[in-house]
């Protein structure tokens, strides 16, 4: 199992970052998948705050799991999530994504055993340099195999 010291060393890690464009087809498919009516006035579904942040952070989910000493097969779960929309995101709009790991915590439950919570925060910055939205999340890493 990843040691607590190893885990704590990733706090402050900055992701490479990148760019993300809210492609019209992705908005359409996303709305269809989550059963949302297509938003009016070219407004993207608000969950693009999360989708765009994750897609533009510059590393894959597999790489993020690896930073925490885990793989997709370990049953990684969501703990908490927040989308903070300073304004609506628009279909076709492009953003720069930046952010990194903000916190780690090890816990032990009677039934769940040892698990780690890794929190990360990502900003979507628009063409004018303004933060349009912030996605803050925590993933739960079960350490069953140890």
């Amino acid at each position: 199992m990843t040691s607590l010291a190893e885990l704590q060393s990733i706090v402050g890690h900055q992701f490479p970052g990148g760019t993300y464009r809210v492609e019209p087809y992705r908005n359409w498919l996303t709305c269809d998948t989550v059963l949302s009516p297509l938003p009016a006035d070219e407004v993207a579904h608000p969950m693009f705050c999360y989708y765009g942040a994750l897609a533009g952070m510059g590393i894959s989910l597999d790489e993020l799991f690896a930073l925490a000493g885990a793989t997709a097969e370990d049953g990684v779960m969501f703990g908490e999530a927040e989308i903070d929309l300073r304004r609506p995101l628009r279909i076709g709009e492009s953003f720069t994504v930046r952010g990194g790991i903000t916190d780690v915590e090890r816990k032990e439950g009677k039934r769940a055993g040892v698990f780690d919570i890794v929190a990360f925060r990502l900003e979507l910055v628009d063409a004018a340099g303004e933060v349009a939205a912030v996605s803050t999340n925590s993933f739960v890493f079960p350490r069953r195999a140890s």
């Binding site: 498919l29 949302s36 938003p39 989910l61 779960m77 927040e82 989308i83």
Partner: protein
């Protein structure tokens, strides 16, 4: 546009059933490598039952949809913060709901803070808080 008073219940929004095929589309859209969203064997191997597990962000999206239906559109959502308390599985019936917990004047309208949740029967599978700007 709706008015909001503290204690008001938000109109419920139901998904029945949660569809395994939608999970596959979402996994592809998100480039999500976690097999619990499409591979029943992987779900079994992890001792999580025998049905695919819905993506957490999709559960969040259901609550966003509920808030949009109430407020008049997705453009009114300002924040949505949730805790994931239990998995939602293919075939489940889930209901998104909420209640207004505070209202305050804001630039352009009224800012309503709402307690929100997603429930399966009597079980709350996701809970949190949202802030929605209701235009004047």
């Amino acid at each position: 546009m709706p008015t909001a008073d503290v204690g008001d219940a938000l109109p419920e929004w139901t998904v029945d059933p949660v569809d395994a095929e939608k999970m596959k589309t979402m996994a592809a859209l998100l480039a999500d490598p976690n097999p619990i969203h499409w591979d029943v064997e992987a779900v079994r191997d992890l001792g999580m039952g025998d049905r695919p597990v819905n993506q957490g962000p999709s559960n969040m999206a259901y609550v966003a949809n509920m808030l949009a239906a109430w407020s008049g559109g997705h453009q009114h959502l300002r924040t949505l913060r949730v805790r994931f308390l239990a998995n939602v599985f293919a075939g489940d019936r889930v209901v998104a709901g909420g209640r207004v917990s505070a209202v305050e004047p804001a630039d352009g309208g009224t800012l309503a803070t709402c307690e929100v949740w997603l429930r399966r029967g009597d079980d709350t599978v996701m809970a949190g808080e949202a802030r929605v700007l209701l235009p004047a």
